[in-house]
């Protein structure tokens, strides 16, 4: 047994030539096969009508047998085949090996065009899907709101806790950080003009109008939008959605509406919290950079912003929340069968939700400019 083990550890093959006859000894397996092939290829002119003696072959595996069968088909005689190798050789030689069919090759330029076409078709389908899903969700939500008794208060409050309260630390931290970034940039850019005092205005206005709500929405899209897709997606993959349907429960009011209402409640609150934290962070940073007192800083903020700035930020929050929830739930319900599908849909949902949030924000900016807010 120990010798057999040593043999497997360092498989070796020895080829001896005696005129037209070769003798193999040792192990002919997948690891020694390249050596044998190389050795035989170096004797091209003697390859015809020779014989190979296999009496000293201690081990033979299927690739080795395949190789020997190939030689036999070329007219090489195999002599002294050991009893234990006979069956294997016969089995492998009896196989009719076809060649692996080749995949049809598509030229690169056509691949590009096909990809563009597919992308376009997918975008169209996506848009139609989103519009349909918005309609279905809106109708389901309205039906629930008309009969407030049917609202799933317990699940809404669970969603508020999950998407809101648990997100407070990270969103507070992000808001502080982003205001620090704006403050540093503001001071650096405005100092050459001697207007670095205006940094306080800059931070206050940009946090209230844009940064607070944008950072919060992006964070929530990544945190809760993905969670919606994953939760609903896993339920879909495990047939739980079908189980709901078969028991006469519509998944829309059961799963989608509580998440939607929950997020529409939470996102404005989170945004307000981010605004406060952003102002606080900005105020501390500017006090430190510009050497002003807290009271001066507060006065300046009071001068710089009014209620409309706060409202411009807050009014966007429920709209963002609506779309984040819709995209998350829609992709969750799109999951088909397997676990990979859950991962794929989650990625798509997050990318799409963040993309939509930024596009909507741009549209809002144009809109507010037009109406003069």
């Amino acid at each position: 047994m120990s010798s057999a083990l040593a043999e497997r550890r360092s498989p070796a093959i020895d080829i001896r030539a005696d005129g037209q006859n070769l003798a193999l000894s040792g192990a002919l397996d997948i690891r020694t096969l390249p050596d044998v092939e190389r050795a035989l290829a170096q004797r091209p002119n003697q390859r015809k009508s020779q014989s190979i003696d296999l009496a000293n072959l201690s081990a033979l595996d299927t690739p080795g047998a395949l190789f020997l069968c190939g030689l036999r088909k070329q007219g090489v005689e195999l002599t002294g085949v050991r009893g234990e190798h006979k069956a294997l050789l016969e089995l492998i030689c009896s196989l009719e090996l076809k060649t692996l069919p080749k995949l049809p090759r598509v030229p690169r330029w056509r691949e590009v065009i096909i990809a563009i076409g597919r992308g376009g078709e997918e975008a169209l389908k996506d848009t139609i899907d989103i519009v349909t899903f918005i309609g279905r969700t809106a109708s389901a939500t309205l039906q629930e709101l008309i009969r407030p008794r049917s609202l799933k208060l317990a699940s809404i409050s669970r969603q508020v806790a999950e998407t809101g309260i648990n997100a407070l630390p990270i969103i507070g931290l992000m808001a502080v950080m982003i205001s620090v970034v704006i403050a540093y940039q503001g001071v650096a850019q405005l100092r050459p003009y001697g207007a670095e005092d205006l940094t306080i205005n800059l931070v206050a206005v940009s946090v209230l109008r844009e940064m607070g709500v944008l950072i919060t929405a992006i964070m929530v899209a990544g945190r809760s939008g993905s969670a919606f897709t994953a939760e609903i997606g896993v339920m879909k993959a495990r047939d739980e959605i079908d189980a709901l349907k078969v028991m006469g429960m519509d998944p829309m009011p059961m799963l989608v509406v509580p998440r939607l209402i929950g997020l529409v409640i939470t996102l404005p609150l989170l945004t307000f919290f981010a605004d406060v934290m952003g102002l606080l962070g900005g105020s501390i940073t500017t006090q430190w950079l510009l050497h002003v007192s807290p009271m001066q800083s507060l006065d300046r903020v009071h001068e710089a912003v009014d209620t409309s700035d706060l409202l411009v930020g807050l009014i966007k929050a429920p709209v963002f929340a609506f779309f984040i929830a819709i995209i998350g739930c829609m992709h969750g319900l799109r999951v088909r069968g397997s676990a990979e599908s859950v991962g794929r849909e989650t990625t798509r949902a997050v990318v799409k939700a963040i993309f939509l949030v930024i596009v909507l924000d741009a549209l809002f900016s144009i809109l507010f400019e037009e109406v003069g807010l």
């Binding site: 057999a4 497997r8 397996d29 997948i30 060649t99 069919p101």
Partner: protein
Amino acid sequence: MSASVQPILSARGIVNRFGQHAVHDGIDLDVRPGEVLGIAGGSGSGKSVLLKTLSGLHRPNRGDVKINGTPVERIDETERAALIGVLFQQGALFSSLSVAQNIMLPIRHHTRLPVEQQERIAVMKLELTGLPVESGIQFPFQLSGGMVKRAAFARALALDPRILFLDEPTADLDPLTAGGIDELIGQLNRSLGITIVIVTHDLTTLFTVCHRVAVLVDRNITVGRVDRLMRSGHPWIREFLHGPRGQGAQHSAQSARKHSHGI
């Protein structure tokens, strides 16, 4: 087989514990070269954990597993690949690769054979496992359940392992397809001389292809030929083998044997 035959795999005093719950308590098991050993047991009796322990994928809390006399954890990667093949329950085929690429992946990693030869070997494995050559360029998601099992077989055989571990090879298959897999197991064992360890609760597999059966009961195992286990006094084993499903499997095994011997 006589007791003098050196076991190809031997496990001594295997203890596996999850928290307070002991799944295996001092299991001794020898696998003889060239045999088909079935490991049976109820749900949650630790069949799959035992398989993972024997194949070196799971380190037991106590006890050791030796393959050809070497502790399984000391076998290096190349050697392990040449010694052990595992057929996972769901196939575990790499979903981004075609079936042929799945088979060629370990060959490419461990040898320096030219691509054409790797392909020839892959085609040979497909033939050996009864798959048409066209399925070589298909991807795992395009295959039916039975074909996934066969493709996974072909990949497990890629490097001609000496021991093949099968985790529930016939689970989730219809009886006809499962019968085909049983036949394939027997064929590979006879023609290639591979030692096969099967974890299964498919009674037909136990009756038709296994030379010996190890039943996991009460955190330990009882090993023997299936006809001897039939006479066992243990209530669970009696119930397991003599229940209505056991009797049905026995009948079909007998008729299958008659069929194959032409009686």
